[in-house]
C-alpha cells in the first residue's frame, strides 16, 4: 500500500481509485497511527474508529459496484470537538459538555462524509473555542508535534496538532478571532478562515455568532482547497450562510503578473520575531519576482482591532453561553430552584477562561457601560472594515504575519490573559470585517519551530488566497519538512 502519513489528500484518493489500497486499509493505517501518537500528543479527545470504518466499508462497497469515488474518498479527517457529530461525544473541550452526545450532525460533518472523508476523531480544543494555546481545554492541552514542550496554538489545537503529526491528512477547525489560522501557523500548516457566510455554521456550537466560521486545515494549499470545496456552499439551516454553490475543487494557476499585493509593513516592525519578518518578506519577494506588484499598505484603524474583538466576542459569548442552565443539556449538580441550579451548573461546568469572558461580556453590555465599550467596539469594527475595503480598491490581497512569533512554551502565558490575547493581534482584523484570510508556512525559527504568514482578500476571494499560497509554497519548498 502506498499511503503514508504524509500523503496528500489527492494522492490518497488516487491510490484508492487505482485499487492500490482500499478505504478500509487507509482508515486502519491512520487509526493505528492515532493509537500510537495520541497518548503523547492529546490531540484527539474521542477516537471515532467505528464511524471511520463504517464510512470506509460503505465506500469500498460502492467502488466495487463500479460507482464513482467522491473527491475525499479514503482521506482521514479530524473534526474539532465543537462540531456536532451524531451519536458521538461533542465536548467543546469543556466539563460542561463532557458527557454530551450530539443528536445530529453539523452540516460540515455531513458534507465531509458525503465527500468520502473518514472521520477518525474529534479534536481537542480550548474550552468553547476560547483560547490561543489549547491550554484551556478541560481535558488537558494538546501538544505541538514540532516540539512537545510548546503549545500547538488554539483554539483549534488538536486539529492542528493531529494534521501536523500525520494522524490525519485534513482537519476542520473553527475560527472566531484566529482559531484556525494561528494554530496553523504554530504547526506549519495551511489554515483557511473563509468569508463569513461561505460555510454553514449549523451544528457548530456557538461562541461569538457574528464572527464564528468553520475552516479547513491541511499541510498544503491544494488539500486545503479540496476540503474547503467539500464544506462550502448554501445551507438553508443557517440563515447567515450565503446562497452560493460550493467552491470549485481545483485551483487554477495564479496569474501572478496581474496580482497586486499590499504588504502590511506596520505589522512586521517592532515586537515581531525575526523569523516571522523574514518569512513574510520572503513570501513578498517570491510574488514580486514572479511579476506581482507589491506595495506597502496601511490599515489606519487596525490598532483598535484587538480591543474591539475582546469586547465584541465576550459580549456575544455571554449571551450565547446563557443557554447552559442545567436544564436541556450539560453538566448539572441539581439545585433547589431554577436560578440556583443554573448557577451551580455554570460555576462547576465552566473553566476559568470561559468565566472570565462571560464576566467581561456581561460587563461591556451592562447599563452605563454599553456606550463606552460595546458601541465603541462596533464603531471600531466598522472603521476597520472600511480600512480593508479601501485597501482592496488598490490591491488584491494583503500580506503580513499570521502571528508575532512562533509557538511558545506550555504554561508561559496561561496566567496572563492579555499576553495570551496578543497572539491574535494579526488574525483578528480581517475577521472583524468578514473577509477571508489564510495562514501558510513561510519559514522556520532558529529553534526549528514553524512560522506563518497571513494573506487576506476580498469577500469570496478564497480561490485567490489559495492560489497565492500554492504559488509561494511551490517556491519556498518547506513541505518536505515534518515533525520527527
Amino acid at each position: 500500500m502506498s499511503i503514508s502519513e504524509w500523503s496528500t489528500a489527492s494522492a490518497i484518493r488516487g491510490t484508492v481509485a487505482k485499487g492500490e489500497a482500499s478505504c478500509v486499509e487507509s482508515a486502519r493505517f491512520f487509526l493505528d497511527r492515532v493509537s500510537k501518537l495520541n497518548p503523547s500528543l492529546n490531540a484527539i479527545l474521542t477516537i471515532t474508529e467505528e464511524r471511520a470504518m463504517a464510512t470506509a466499508t460503505t465506500l469500498d462497497k460502492s467502488k466495487a459496484k463500479g460507482k464513482a469515488l467522491p473527491p475525499l474518498a479514503g482521506v482521514p479527517v479530524v473534526v474539532k470537538d465543537n462540531l456536532c457529530t451524531k451519536g458521538q461525544k461533542t465536548t467543546c473541550g469543556s466539563r460542561m459538555l463532557a458527557d454530551w452526545t450530539a443528536p445530529y450532525d453539523a452540516t460540515v460533518v455531513e458534507r465531509l462524509e458525503a465527500a468520502g472523508a473518514l472521520m477518525v476523531g474529534k479534536a481537542n480544543m480550548d474550552e468553547f473555542a476560547m483560547g490561543s494555546s489549547g491550554e484551556t481545554s478541560a481535558f488537558g492541552p494538546a501538544l505541538n508535534p514540532w516540539n512537545r514542550k510548546m503549545v500547538p496554538g488554539g483554539s483549534s489545537s488538536g486539529s492542528a496538532s493531529a494534521v501536523s503529526a500525520g494522524m490525519a491528512t485534513l482537519a476542520l477547525g473553527s475560527d472566531t478571532g484566529g482559531s484556525v489560522k494561528q494554530p496553523a501557523a504554530f504547526c506549519g500548516l495551511v489554515g483557511l478562515r473563509p468569508t463569513y457566510g461561505r460555510v454553514s455554521r449549523y451544528g457548530l456550537v456557538a461562541f461569538a455568532s457574528s464572527l464564528d466560521q468553520v475552516g479547513p486545515l491541511a499541510r498544503n494549499a491544494d488539500d486545503c482547497a479540496l476540503l474547503f470545496s467539500a464544506i462550502s456552499g448554501e445551507d438553508p439551516r443557517d440563515s447567515t450562510c450565503l446562497k452560493l454553490p460550493p467552491e470549485s475543487q481545483r485551483l487554477e494557476p495564479l496569474d501572478v503578473k496581474k496580482l497586486r499585493v499590499g504588504l502590511l509593513a506596520e505589522q512586521i516592525g517592532k515586537g515581531v520575531a525575526p523569523a516571522v519578518r523574514e518569512g513574510v518578506l520572503k513570501a513578498a519577494a517570491i510574488l514580486e519576482n514572479g511579476g506581482a506588484m507589491v506595495s506597502e499598505v496601511s490599515l489606519p484603524h487596525a490598532s483598535y482591532a484587538l480591543a474591539a474583538y475582546y469586547v465584541i466576542a465576550p459580549a456575544e459569548c455571554s449571551a450565547n453561553l446563557a443557554r447552559y442552565d442545567g436544564v436541556r443539556y450539560g453538566f448539572s449538580p441539581g439545585g433547589p430552584d431554577s436560578g440556583e441550579r443554573a448557577e451551580a451548573s455554570r460555576s462547576a461546568g465552566f473553566g476559568e477562561e470561559v468565566k472570565r469572558r462571560i464576566l467581561a461580556g456581561t460587563f461591556v453590555l451592562s447599563a452605563g457601560y454599553r456606550d463606552a465599550f460595546y458601541n465603541k467596539a462596533l464603531f471600531a469594527r466598522q472603521a476597520i472594515t472600511r480600512d480593508f475595503e479601501n485597501a482592496f480598491k488598490e490591491v488584491d490581497i494583503l500580506l503580513g504575519p499570521a502571528t508575532p512569533g512562533p509557538a511558545f512554551p506550555i504554561g508561559e502565558r496561561s496566567g496572563d490573559p492579555m499576553r495570551m490575547y496578543l497572539c491574535d493581534v494579526f488574525t483578528i482584523p480581517p475577521n472583524l470585517g468578514g473577509f477571508p484570510s489564510l495562514s501558510f508556512p513561510c519559514g522556520f525559527a532558529s529553534d526549528g519551530l514553524p512560522v506563518g504568514a497571513q494573506i487576506s482578500g476580498r469577500r469570496l476571494g478564497e480561490p485567490l488566497l489559495l492560489q497565492t499560497a500554492k504559488f509561494i509554497e511551490e517556491r519556498l519548498c518547506l513541505l518536505e519538512r515534518h515533525p520527527s
Binding site: 452526545t101 443528536p103 445530529y104 463569513y196 457566510g197 457574528s210 438553508p236 440563515s239 447567515t240 450565503l242 484603524h301 483598535y304 480591543a307 474591539a308 475582546y310 455571554s318 446563557a322 442552565d325 442545567g326 436544564v327 436541556r328 443539556y329 450539560g330 453538566f331 448539572s332 439545585g335 430552584d337 431554577s338 436560578g339 441550579r341 443554573a342 448557577e343 451551580a344 451548573s345 455554570r346 460555576s347 476559568e352 468565566k355 472570565r356 462571560i358 464576566l359 467581561a360 456581561t362 461591556v364 451592562s366 463606552a372 465599550f373 465603541k376 467596539a377 464603531f379 471600531a380 469594527r381 466598522q382 472603521a383 472594515t385 490573559p417 490575547y421 470585517g433 468578514g434 469577500r459
Partner: protein, 99 residues
C-alpha cells in the same frame, strides 16, 4: 487610565448577572485580570464615533417565517440532566402557591 472600573462590589453584581458563583480565591485572580482587560479595551474610547451604520460583516439573510420540523423528543430528552415523563424537569420557580 488610573481609575478602576471594576470595584469588588460591581464584580459581585456582575457574577450574579452572569449566574456564576465565584469563590474568593477565584476572585483574587479574576478581578485584576478583568481589570487589565478592561483597561486595554478602554483604548477604544479614542476612536471617533462616525456614522453608526449597521455593524457586523454586512452579510445576513432571514428565511421564511414558517414552521419546520425540529428534533424529536426521544432524541433531545436523553441529553438533559433532568427529564421525566417526556418533559424537561425544572425546579419550582414560582414561590408559594400550591405544591
Amino acid at each position: 487610565m488610573g481609575e478602576k472600573v471594576l470595584c469588588p462590589e460591581r464584580f459581585e453584581t456582575l457574577s450574579k448577572l452572569a449566574k456564576l458563583t465565584i469563590s474568593k480565591k477565584e476572585r483574587e485572580r479574576l478581578l485584576p485580570q478583568l481589570e487589565a482587560i478592561l483597561e486595554y479595551v478602554s483604548s477604544l474610547k479614542a476612536i471617533e464615533a462616525e456614522a453608526a451604520e449597521e455593524s457586523g460583516a454586512g452579510i445576513s439573510a432571514l428565511r421564511e417565517d414558517a414552521a419546520q420540523p425540529g428534533l424529536d423528543k426521544d432524541v433531545v430528552l436523553p441529553a438533559s440532566p433532568h427529564s421525566a415523563s417526556g418533559f424537561f424537569r425544572v425546579p419550582k420557580f414560582v414561590k408559594g402557591g400550591h405544591q
